[in-house]
Symmetry: C2
Subunit: 158 residues, 2 copies
DNA sequence: CTTGGAATGTCAACAAGGCTGACATATTAA
DNA sequence: TTAATATGTCAGCCTTGTTGACATTCCAAG
């Protein structure tokens, strides 16, 4: 297998693996979200607000790769529902700094716990070396600007 | 890293890696699809019809994990546009066996080539051992029934 | 040979969550 | 003073998912 790891057939299998794995990856949070009338878009917003507290709307926009109108719709409901807090910037008062409320953090924990459990189980089944390879390939698969965003987030926090 | 590969922080990074990588994974086909007024749903249908020619609607339904109404809408346009062929089953004439026309195969090749190139570059950047780990973790991340479907496809074809 | 159920197709209605375009407002920077 | 930036919001559109209902065709069991 290693001597031909980039054959068309190998690559097609990789494509299918990504497809099916991503379904598993989102399945657990999706089930939780469905019970509270939220969707994946809410999850993504909550995740990155939790991850980079105090981030601005613009930064979140770029991270998520959606339009402000699309994000705004989601963000508005999260703010109305008391999960996300929006504070005017002190230095630049045009900016809104976003953070989770304690209620928001509770939901974030539930969603994250489910997703982390799925990943942890997969990591254990595959082993530490596999995990390293997994991360390497995923990183290489990103667009350059996404890789930068990824590094910005994981280096500061991790 | 290896001694703590399943810490919460490591897992959160894995989650983000999946998120950003999946964006890259779909980016190239998405660009092609946009020029011809198709979406990801069309791509997925085309991919699996190409992969398992002669498959039935029901099998495709289960593979894709959507409702028949949702698939039917996509499939109908593909058939109307002459990319997919639907033949009544010989043994069981309720079934429709799906396959790509030559036009369909052309599009499939374009989409697949773009996506395979992305993956191949990532594989080369990460190396053969990493690829093995990548595949292992992805497989472990799938739901059981998706893993069965995945094996059914890759074992027959690959 | 009838009948139940399976496989498929189709209609209608609805929702989430993307998008574009246009416009308003506040604030900062030139 | 003016231009640019950050944000919010309204309106409308598209894709792609959902449910529910119903028709057709056909296999298979009784």
């Amino acid at each position: 297998m290693k001597e031909n790891f980039d054959s068309d057939e190998e690559l097609r299998q990789g494509i299918e693996a990504m497809f099916f794995a991503y379904r598993g990856f989102t399945a657990d949070p999706d089930r939780i979200l469905a019970t509270i009338d939220y969707g994946r878009a809410h999850h993504r917003a909550i995740h990155f607000v939790a991850r980079t507290p105090g981030t601005t709307v613009n930064k979140l926009l770029m991270t998520l790769g959606v339009t402000k109108q699309s994000l705004n719709r989601v963000l508005r409901t999260l703010i109305e529902d008391g999960l996300v807090e929006s504070r005017q910037g002190a230095r630049d008062r045009r900016e809104r700094h976003l953070s989770l409320t304690s209620t928001g953090r509770e939901l974030e924990k539930r969603l994250s716990a489910a997703q982390r459990e799925r990943l942890r189980d997969a990591y254990h089944a595959a082993g530490p070396e596999a995990v390293e390879g997994f991360r390497k390939v995923l990183e290489a698969m990103m667009d350059d600007d996404m890789r930068r965003t990824y590094h910005a987030i994981t280096e500061v926090e991790g």
